[in-house]
């Protein structure tokens, strides 16, 4: 279980138990600084060796520690620095300590059990820690974005560029087909909710059927997962547990990894400190799609889809000569909101040896690049640590209150031509949509027959209200009682508890006069949704440390935990509104849904053992946890999740190889069934004649359903070499997931849609590596670089007999590509229709047009692979005197994306390269360039084969590959350049520190991908099918100027 950093680093890493015991008879003060540059080191831990004094340095590096009488030795440690022992003789009252830097952060602690940690140097599994500085190099839309490129082995993607976030973290590949696919997020011991709730955009877009109450909202509504409410400014560090040998301590919710987040805390013995950070910046859309340049009115009237139909007179009036001098680029007119973004964060922290406090208040406003969009977050956090009974009892509490208001407009799939990228695709830029008539009404979009089958996005974003307002409270408390404290034995009892309460209020109001209104027979609609989430977890752990000699320590933990989640969403929708009335009581048709989407209770018993032996060279961690959960068919049965891992360090190998650590681990974790999978249920049918009805549930539950099981072993090495300038971490893992939760389709003629069962097997194997180089460290210059590499391959081992291969749920179909679960296959394969020759071999792309006689069949087969060949990350930090430059760069090689956005624009005849000639450069690899001179067949008519027509004609004839595009990209995720002001400036402000920083997020992207961003996904966070790009909110780059002042 996550604990406070101060507590953990000061105490547990030494295998000690907290105690500030009785009589202390003198105080030693001092200052911790960096050897090079004489910079104060904040947050260093100072421990009296063999005694009981503990202290921490403040932001100015000073500390004050109570020590015993006589000569004492102090151990001084700080993350990012090498540890140091200093002597303080009986007569000394002041010591100054200079620490050498440790770019490999071996002093950091990693979580190893519910109440235990280890130093990173001894870590037995691959660990990733992201510090506050790395996390906050540039402001991010949400925590996921801040983590991108920094966690090898984790695929972290934003679902779109909409303000406010919405992203996905997937660690070591997809480990489930149906079950939870996101890691568990734990903030200071609280397992927080990462649910996503729709606000009802589907009621406008009709992306899924919108006719019944189940269709008020949908998973294509550009959902925001609730990680968006976390304020990165409050975070001290993030630790990502990947290996089952580490995550098994979280039992049946841990197959997807665990992200342990620690928030900032006050340091003991420091004077009150106040820090203020102000940022101002702006967002700009990047990689907009451009548009085809229409030259004549005939070009418009001749659009393949009938788009231009009925606009003859309009075009004749506007372009009497028939010539169109210039084409509107609607996207650049639309996505150009440049309202400044700002953020103000103030924090107040400090502490005495018994009481520490940290208070942070952040206000952040991030306008979106589309009109009237934006995200506004207010977050308050208060952390208090208090020791009682001379330190025998320590209590850590924290409370976090946030208000998060999101206005994200419409994006993604739609069937009503209302989301802008969709609508613009079918609207040639020959009318000025961003204009109003004499009455103030927006210009009507005349294309595609006009009327309410089309929309004017400028009007839509002006008049449609779509707001998600979240109030959230997270509270945590950890109490440790040091029950026994002898030289060799320490016993402590820790209780950790926390709650997470989220209220999400969605308000959608679409007034009756907007162009698209009425397409379903009703003018004006409103959706009110209330989501309530209440989670809490509670854990008791007893800890016994036994240290028979200084070379050996044993820590035993036993305990139990209790976790519960309550999730409910109530939605009401009214259609056919009274003019101007926004409440759902006013409509002609009222749809309501009241849905509990996940109530769970979980109970676990656990026991762990941690051994440090041979002077901390050998570390072994093992444990077992047994879970039962309300989601299982058998609620009484405990499912065991064992784990064991160990490491051995070869030290003193000389200067070439300073230290070599070998480590290996094995563990088993679970992924519990989904809510209600265990129940055989009937369902609510529709109402007819005023009578509600009961029908069969189209899915048959399984009363024996149990957790999916992931078994993983990993082995790796951490090598420090070349005079401690380089560190290599390398890990190989192999995970096998058995007893998969499956929902195969039944025989349709049996009258049931699908059923639930456990069975089958997936496997993921991969390599993760990181090379950290401390290239130069001197008074004026520091250079540190880190490169990471990850490669993962995921296979489907088998399926239970009786389960046919099946497409992943929520797929669009063979024309657009989908993941298929088929024995012996690969989960990332993209299946779709492909023309084959007589031997069953795929023909070149374009063959349906260029060489139809060679096409023997068009079959749904493997057309591509979404899995990247590899992913690399580069982070670097360069300091030159007072200037520091930091950056994160990532490189994804390979992987395919179904670029359905491109399909739309070609279908609408408006894509930027629609009329480009068919060449290798315009078409890409794999295409047959010998297009027929007679032309390309678009709906039965031959047109000159241009790039756009050829692509669309081939796709339309039955070749999914026409829009499967390579996702290779290199991008600068973030960059910051900061300047630490000289003391003379600072003093004039009456301040302690002053820093000026220029920050940028996503400043540069290199890719040949046609649409916005190959990382975006129409379906948001999904285990599979994560390669569907369909009319997202465009990506944007952000630039900020920041001022940090400390007093």
């Amino acid at each position: 279980m996550s604990r406070s950093l101060t507590f953990a680093s000061a105490v547990l890493a030494l295998g000690l138990v907290p105690a500030i015991a009785g009589a202390q008879n003198r105080e030693v003060t001092g200052k911790v600084t960096r050897t090079i540059g004489d910079v104060p080191v904040a947050g260093a831990t100072i421990v009296e060796i063999g005694g009981q004094g503990v202290a921490q340095s403040g932001n100015d590096g000073t500390f004050r520690i109570s020590v015993g009488p006589g000569d004492v030795r102090l151990l001084v440690r700080a993350i990012g620095f090498q540890r140091k022992e200093v002597a303080a003789s009986a007569s000394t009252s002041s010591v100054n300590v200079a620490l050498d830097e440790d770019p490999f952060k071996l002093e950091a602690v990693v979580v190893t059990g519910q109440a235990t940690t280890l130093e990173r140097r001894n870590a037995t599994t691959a660990t990733v820690q992201v510090s506050s500085a790395d996390l906050n190099r540039a402001p991010a839309q949400a925590l996921e974005q801040a983590l991108q490129g920094k966690v090898p082995g984790a695929t972290i993607s934003m679902n779109s560029g909409a303000p406010g976030g919405g992203g996905q973290v997937q660690i070591r590949g997809a480990t489930s087909i149906l079950g939870q696919g996101q890691p568990l997020f734990v903030v200071d011991g609280v397992i927080i909710s990462n649910d996503a709730i729709s606000d009802g955009a589907n009621s406008v877009t009709g992306a899924g059927s919108r006719t019944s109450s189940a269709g008020i909202g949908s998973n294509q509504d550009a959902l925001v997962n609730r990680l968006a409410d976390l304020n990165p400014d409050e975070i001290e560090s993030i630790e990502v547990l990947k290996s089952a040998a580490a995550t098994a301590m979280y039992g049946s919710r841990a197959t997807n990894g665990v992200v342990v987040i620690r928030t900032k805390r006050g340091a003991p013995g420091t004077t009150p400190q106040f820090n203020l950070t102000s940022r101002i910046g702006r967002s700009a859309a990047y990689r907009l799609l451009g548009t085809r340049q229409f030259k004549t009115t005939t070009d418009v009237l001749d659009l393949p889809y009938g788009n231009g139909l009925g606009t003859d007179s309009l075009l004749a009036a506007r372009y009497p000569s028939g010539q169109i001098p210039s084409t509107h680029n609607y996207q650049s007119e639309f996505y150009n909101n440049s309202t400044p973004a700002y953020e103000v964060t103030g924090s107040f922290s400090g502490g005495t040896p018994t009481t520490q406090y940290y208070l942070n208040l952040t206000g952040r406003n991030e306008p979106g690049v589309a009109p009237n969009t934006g995200a506004r977050l207010y977050s308050l956090r208060a952390n208090i640590d208090q020791a009682f009974l001379s330190g025998k009892i320590k209590v850590h509490t924290g409370i976090n209150v946030t208000r998060n208001s999101l206005n994200r407009g419409l994006s993604n799939n739609d069937n009503t031509n209302t989301s802008p990228i969709y609508g613009f695709a079918y609207t040639p830029g020959v009318v000025n949509l961003d204009s109003v008539d004499a009455t103030g009404t927006f210009v009507r979009n005349p294309f595609n027959g006009g009327g309410n089958g089309m929309s004017n996005p400028f009007e839509t974003f002006q008049d449609l209200k779509l707001n998600e307002l979240t109030f959230r409270q997270i509270g945590d408390i950890t109490a440790t009682w040091s029950a026994l404290d002898l030289a060799q034995h320490q016993i402590s009892v820790t209780a950790t508890g926390g709650f997470d309460r989220v209220q999400v209020t969605g308000d959608l109001f679409s007034p009756s006069f907007v162009q698209y209104e009425g397409s379903d027979g009703f003018f004006g609609r409103t959706v009110r949704s209330e989501g309530n989430i209440f989670n809490y977890n509670l854990q008791f752990a007893g800890n016994w440390s036994y240290e028979p000699s200084s070379a050996l320590s044993l820590t035993t933990t036993v305990g139990y935990s209790w976790e519960t989640q309550y999730n409910r969403v109530i939605r009401t929708r009214a259609r056919g509104l009274l003019a101007g009335v926004q409440t759902s009581g006013s409509g002609t048709v009222l749809d309501e849904s009241d849905n509990v989407f996940g109530d769970f209770r979980d109970i676990a018993l656990f026991a762990n053992e941690q051994i440090l032996a041979l002077n901390e060279r050998l570390a072994i961690t093992g444990g077992i946890r047994a879970d039962r959960t309300s989601a299982n068919g058998d609620r009484q049965k405990y499912h065991p999740f064992p784990r064991i891992s160990g490491s051995y360090r070869f030290t003193d190998l000389g200067e070439l190889f300073n230290e070599v650590k070998l480590r290996a681990g094995w563990g088993r974790t679970g992924n519990r069934p989904r809510y209600a999978d265990r129940d055989v249920l009937w369902a609510v049918g529709s109402t007819i004649g005023g009578t509600a009805s009961i029908v069969q549930n189209p899915t048959l539950g399984d009363s024996l359903v149990h957790p999916e099981t992931l078994t993983e072993w990993e082995a790796g090495t951490d090598v420090t070499f070349l005079h401690r300038r380089l560190q290599l971490e390398a890990t190989y893992y192999h995970r096998r997931i058995t007893d998969l939760l499956l929902q195969p389709a039944t025989v349709p003629s049996g009258g049931i849609g699908s059923f639930i069962l456990n069975g089958g097997q997936l496997s993921n194997r991969g390599v993760e590596a990181a090379l950290t180089a401390s290239i130069k460290q001197s008074r004026d210059v520091d250079v540190t670089l880190r490169t990471t590499f990850a490669k993962n391959k995921q296979e489907i081992g088998n399926l239970p007999s009786g389960v046919p291969r099946f497409p992943v749920g929520g797929s669009f179909g063979a024309a657009f590509g989908r993941n298929f679960i088929t024995p012996g296959g690969v989960t990332t394969w993209i299946w779709g229709v492909v023309p084959l020759d007589a031997n069953g071999k795929p023909l070149p792309i374009g063959s349906l047009i260029t060489n139809p006689s060679a096409v023997a069949s068009v079959r749904d087969t493997v057309a591509g692979d979404a899995n990247p060949d590899f992913v690399m990350g580069f982070t670097g930090s360069v300091r030159w005197k007072r200037l520091t430059l930091g950056t994160t760069v990532s490189w994804q090689q390979g992987g395919m994306v179904a670029d359905m956005t491109h399909t739309l624009w070609d279908e609408g005849g408006t894509s930027r390269d629609y009329e480009a000639p068919v060449t290798r450069a315009t078409m890409g690899d794999g295409w047959d360039l010998n297009v027929p001179a007679a032309g390309c067949d678009i709906y039965g008519t031959l047109y000159p084969c241009t790039a756009g027509r050829y692509r669309y004609a081939e796709w339309y004839a039955g070749d999914v590959r026409a829009y499967l595009e390579n996702a290779t990209n290199v991008r600068v995720r973030d960059i910051s350049l900061s300047y630490d002001a000289p003391d003379t400036w600072v003093r004039q402000l009456g301040a302690r520190t002053l820093r000026l920083t220029f920050q940028a997020r996503n400043p540069i992207v290199f890719t040949n991908y046609w649409s916005f961003d190959p990382e975006f996904n129409n379906f948001g966070a999904t285990n599979l099918n994560r390669f569907i790009d369909l009319a997202p909110f465009p990506g944007n780059r952000q630039f900020y100027l920041s001022v940090d002042v400390g007093w």
């Binding site: 969709y422 079918y426 129940d679 029908v695 039944t746 046919p804 709906y939």
Partner: protein, 493 residues
Amino acid sequence: MRSVLGRLIAAAAVTLVGCSLDLTNPNSPTPGQALKDPRTATGQMVVGVLATYRDNRANQIRALGSYGRETYYMFLTDGRFITGPYLQWKRNTSFEGGTQWGRYGNYRNAYVAIKAINAVPTGAPTPTALTAGEKAGALGLLKTFIALDMLHVIEARGAIGAVVDITDAVNAVSPIVSQDSVYKWITAKLDEAKGDLDAAVASGDPFYFPMHSGFSAFGVTANTPAGFILFNRAIKARVEAKRGSLGCGAPCYARALTALDTTWIADLTATNRDNGVYVIFSVSTGDVLNFASFQGDRNYYVHPSIDSIAGVTLDDRYRRKVAIAGSACGTSYTSPQTEVRVTATHRACTYFRNDAPIPTIRNEELVLLRAEARWFTADQAGALSDLAAVRAGSGAPNPGETAVVKVPTPATDDEFEEELLLQRTLSLYQEAQRWVDYRRFGKLAELNTLAQDLAANFTVATVSPLPAQECDSRARAGNPGGIPLSCPGNPIP
């Protein structure tokens, strides 16, 4: 300190033992929860069958309307609603491919309801008991709807045949039987249902569940066991007539006439032509709207082959059902629409309001069935008088109207079929009949004469192929009985 530790451990143990993990699901009932009140639960399940039958109706009209050249479904952003049924109908992954397989879901609704009803103790009416008569009434209704749903399946599947028996094993691969066997099974099921209904009538017990107004508000009283028998017989007449045209001939047509005698059939007039049983829609919460209606879905366009029937603009059926001046829809949507290079001029307006009912079977169809059955049982005069009544009562009830006619006095079976098909096309427009009718008389080729359809390489579907999932499931089970027609490895019939 030890006592504190002891107390903590004790508290922990109490928490651990005291908590139940048996959370119930508030969203949906388990059968056990629901059947604590079997009278209410089984009654709501019967309503579920009626509601689900209704829910499938609009999609049926869309799919069969495309197959049968009644409408183009011009969905703005996805032309596959046209290319699926018109061009790529052989692919079992195409749009509308495998249509009507949701009917098996309703079959299972009825199957489960029947089992639940049979399990309820028989006795005096109480919340936990049903009388024998109540049970018989419910069973008769449910079996009639099983037969009706299966009729829609075989109408879509045609020569492929269909599965007729479902069992408790939801994933069992049951045999596919021939089209003829399916029709025989349906008639037997209808007769079995009638036996139950007769028993209910004899008991005097009414239906114990609410019957929606579609059974009583349209000139027919079919909301009682006795009245429902009329509906059962009307369906029976329809099935026997179809069998008659599919090779059975006069014997089946004779049974159709017998069945018609015990329906509400009346010589056709403008006032009684719409008497029948309907499915109803409403804007009430939880209810469903008519998505085959002008207000409910703007994408239905009249296929130009309907517009081009000689003299059709003077026929009242066209004037009522097409969105032109004088129709309920008015003229506001008459501009031509083009999609995937085919163009239509008018939107369909058979159902104007989004809560307009859709007929399940009505008098006009009964009279047309009688005309057909009379012709093929050597009552040509009766047949022609029925057709004349349809033309007068439905095609030209008002001054200035002239009903279309192709062969005023047919001399041959073929001529009669041509005339019958024309009258059925207009009389039963957007009731999911035209495609099935042209197929059963072997005249599908006549549906594909429109120049723009031919230019687009459209062909007429002979069947709606089995859905891909059905093929996959059967293949996985080793294709007992062989690879079904229309599945990969066996051609489209």
